[in-house]
C-alpha cells in the first residue's frame, strides 16, 4: 500500500510517500502502527483532530476500512481557493 504525506505532515515525517506492508484493517490501525515506528511519525500523528485522511483519493474518516485499498494519504485541513 502506498502511503502519502502532504504539507507539514510530509515535513515532519521527512518523506512524501512510502510503500508499506501492513496488516492494519482500518486507517486508525494504520495510524497506530505508524506512531509506533519512530518519533517523527509519533510527532506527525500526535493530534488526529489536526489531520485529514484520503483513501484511494477520496476524503474519508479514520475508521475507514483499508480492504483492497491501494493508496492512503495524510494531510492537514486543505487550504485551496
Amino acid at each position: 500500500m502506498d502511503v502519502l504525506y502532504f504539507a507539514w505532515v510530509r515535513e515532519r515525517i521527512g518523506i512524501p510517500r512510502e510503500t508499506l506492508d501492513t496488516s492494519a484493517r482500518t486507517v486508525a490501525e494504520l495510524v497506530e502502527e505508524l506512531r509506533g515506528r519512530e518519533d517523527r511519525y509519533a510527532a506527525a500523528f500526535a493530534d488526529l483532530s489536526a489531520l485529514r485522511v484520503a483513501v484511494d483519493q477520496d476524503l474519508t474518516d479514520f475508521d475507514a476500512s483499508l480492504e483492497g485499498v491501494r493508496e492512503v494519504a495524510f494531510f492537514p485541513p486543505m487550504t485551496g481557493g
Binding site: F6, R10, D58, A73, F75, T79, G80
Partner: protein, 147 residues
C-alpha cells in the same frame, strides 16, 4: 466542464472572454478570481502551493459536477495553480454561466466554499520572518453548511 490544475500563470482576461463566448443561450456569467495578497507587517516574499496530483483532479471534477447538478448551469470552469506564487499573482479562478443570474452567483459561491476546504491544496507562506503553513479557518468549514 473545464478543469485545469497547472503551475503556469493563466490569462484571466482571455479565460473570462473565452468562457463567456462559448456560452449559448446563457444570460449570466459570474467569475471569481483569487489573488495572492501581500501580508501586513512581515511582507510576503512568496507562497508555495502544494497539491495532491490525482486526487486534485478528482476533487475538482466532483465539486464541479455537484454544482452542475444543483443549479441550472450552462457550464463551469475551474483553474487552480500550484507551485510558487508572488503577491498579486492570480492563484485560481472559477467561472459559471446560467440563464438567470441567481444560479451563476450561487454556483460560483458554492464552488469557492468547496475548493477552499475540499480540494487538496495546501499553502505555505514565506515572509522575512520565516515560513508557515496557512491554517484552515473554522469559518471555512462552517461555510459548507450553507449548502
Amino acid at each position: 466542464m473545464i478543469l485545469r490544475v497547472q503551475s503556469e500563470p493563466f490569462d484571466l482576461g482571455a479565460e473570462t472572454d473565452t468562457f463567456a463566448k462559448a456560452q449559448s443561450g446563457m444570460g449570466a456569467v459570474v467569475t471569481f478570481t483569487g489573488i495572492v495578497r501581500d501580508l501586513p507587517g512581515a511582507g510576503l516574499d512568496r507562497m508555495e502551493i502544494e497539491h495532491y496530483p490525482g486526487m486534485t483532479e478528482k476533487a475538482l471534477e466532483k465539486i464541479a459536477s455537484e454544482a452542475m447538478q444543483r443549479w441550472d448551469l450552462g457550464d463551469v470552469l475551474i483553474i487552480h495553480r500550484y507551485g510558487v506564487l508572488r503577491p498579486d499573482d492570480r492563484i485560481m479562478m472559477v467561472a459559471t454561466s446560467s440563464r438567470h443570474r441567481a444560479d451563476a452567483f450561487a454556483a460560483a459561491d458554492f464552488l469557492m466554499d468547496y475548493l477552499k476546504s475540499r480540494a487538496p491544496f495546501w499553502k505555505k507562506e514565506f515572509t522575512s520572518s520565516g515560513a508557515e503553513w496557512v491554517a484552515s479557518k473554522d469559518t471555512d468549514e462552517a461555510a459548507l453548511d450553507r449548502w
